[in-house]
Symmetry: C2
DNA sequence: ACAGCGATTTAATATATGTAAGGGTTTCGC
DNA sequence: GCGAAACCCTTACATATATTAAATCGCTGT
């Protein structure tokens, strides 16, 4: 849970400060978002369904969620994960009917922010607007990398890539302890996200363990050899667009 | 070639009017974009390379282009196609370093628009700004559908889906004649876009032909049974977000 | 402590898709 | 109009991943 001084929007601030340096006033303005209603969602339930016409923007405050699409015959593809500090639909609501669903992985707490509240925030604080735009563009970039991942990498490489990405993102909001982190995805989530079958996800994870690259049990992921895992995944951090801050990717910084 | 009254930005206007009803002043303002330099790109050449730091926004005026990413070992994934009236990077340039490349499929003509020119346009014409935002969000939605396509559909379904999508988009800018259209993609383009192998693309196309669903030769695509092709692809037009105009998807309207 | 259920693991088998290589055809530059 | 590429197509074979099913593990709640 976010128990820092910024309270419930602390992870968002951490998130945005990767992109833009915020002033004290910017941070205070963001903190004002906590006036929005805080909503609880049950684990494994839907938060928004394809076809809905949402009227709020959701900011994940606690827990994991995902964006997914499904086919009439039940096949399902997760197209992105949300962790605390991520917006589910900063702009998407503008399109009226949702073209995808949002589901909770764990129990989730989110702020249901009225669009006008965001508008007045971004009008008053241009740097915040800039940071939000950046955050959104990085999301699109991640989406493109996922296409490369699913379209061009082997099952093993895909898995490795997804684990590295999630670990890097979690670390960025201070949710990693050394080289390990809480990891609530079950194997069928990984299957839906990578486009491989749950049985094959299992084989793939075993291979990553056998190779001494990871440990994964009891909802806890531990990266044993970050460097080698990144090489296997052909992980190129460019697409996260963090470099302009001079940060480096190293599991132990 | 766009030889209508709006000249070189005619396809853009057609494109945007699917989303928002533009006034005469809006259209005139958009027509002003043709003051930007018109650039030629050679077929099969790169227009922007991953890592570049572009300073203009590109609007495709003639020809086809694609967004793609590649891996160190040469594997390549096309993550989107651009046809006339599409922006290549309406916002992406903000992120500084490109996380993907843009390549020409055919000879391409594009307007190289300075960001300030776009900014003054959108400040003066809010409906244009709204339409551009919509266009961008639809692009992201298409990206999500592609993830579903590559992650969850079989090779045959994937192929069918891609063909339907491209046909629908071409028709929307008046580039289809009845149930057929110019189609400059070669089989290895289709392979890179669907994440299947060129040989298998060939098998897949033959099957679509054998089933009496399409004709495809000499850079010309003809949809023989639109209804059945859509069903095979599980094509749900929601993701193109055209419905608010009350349009229907029918190959012969 | 145990029941019950979801999650993981294993195994056997099936199949879609990949790989490699050769021949045929269209396209395009000159 | 000719020649050389570039593209398309085919075949034979290899393999990664899917499918199905069933056995174990490990929570969660009683």
């Amino acid at each position: 849970m976010p128990d820092d001084s910024q309270g419930v929007v602390g992870d968002l601030i951490l998130n945005l400060e990767r992109y833009v340096r915020l002033s004290g006033d910017d941070r205070r303005a963001l903190t004002g978002l906590k006036a929005a209603p805080l909503v609880d969602a049950r684990a494994r339930g839907d938060i928004v369904r394809e076809g809905d016409n949402p009227t709020v923007v959701r900011l994940v405050v606690e827990g994991w969620a995902c964006r997914y699409k499904d086919l009439p015959d039940g096949r399902r593809q997760i197209v992105g994960f949300f962790i605390p500090g991520d917006f589910c639909d900063l702009n998407v609501y503008i399109l009226q009917a949702m073209d995808h669903s949002i589901g909770a992985i764990t129990p989730v707490k989110y702020l249901a922010i009225p669009p006008e509240m965001l508008e007045s925030l971004t009008e008053a604080r241009p740097r915040v607007a800039q940071a939000l735009l950046w955050h959104e563009l990085v999301n699109n970039s991640i989406q493109r990398e996922w296409l490369l991942n699913i379209g061009a990498r082997s099952a093993l490489e895909r898995m490795a890539h997804l684990l590295v990405e999630l670990f890097v993102r979690l670390r960025a909001i201070g949710k990693a302890e050394g080289n390990s982190c809480h990891f609530p995805l079950i194997q069928s989530d990984l299957a839906d996200a990578t486009g491989i079958t749950p049985v094959h996800v299992n084989r793939t994870l075993q291979e990553l363990r056998r190779e001494g690259l990871i440990e994964l049990r009891a909802k806890r992921l531990k990266i044993l050899d970050f460097e080698r895992l990144m090489r296997l995944a052909m992980f190129n951090p460019n697409y996260l667009h963090l470099d302009h801050e001079g940060r480096h990717l190293d599991a132990n910084d």
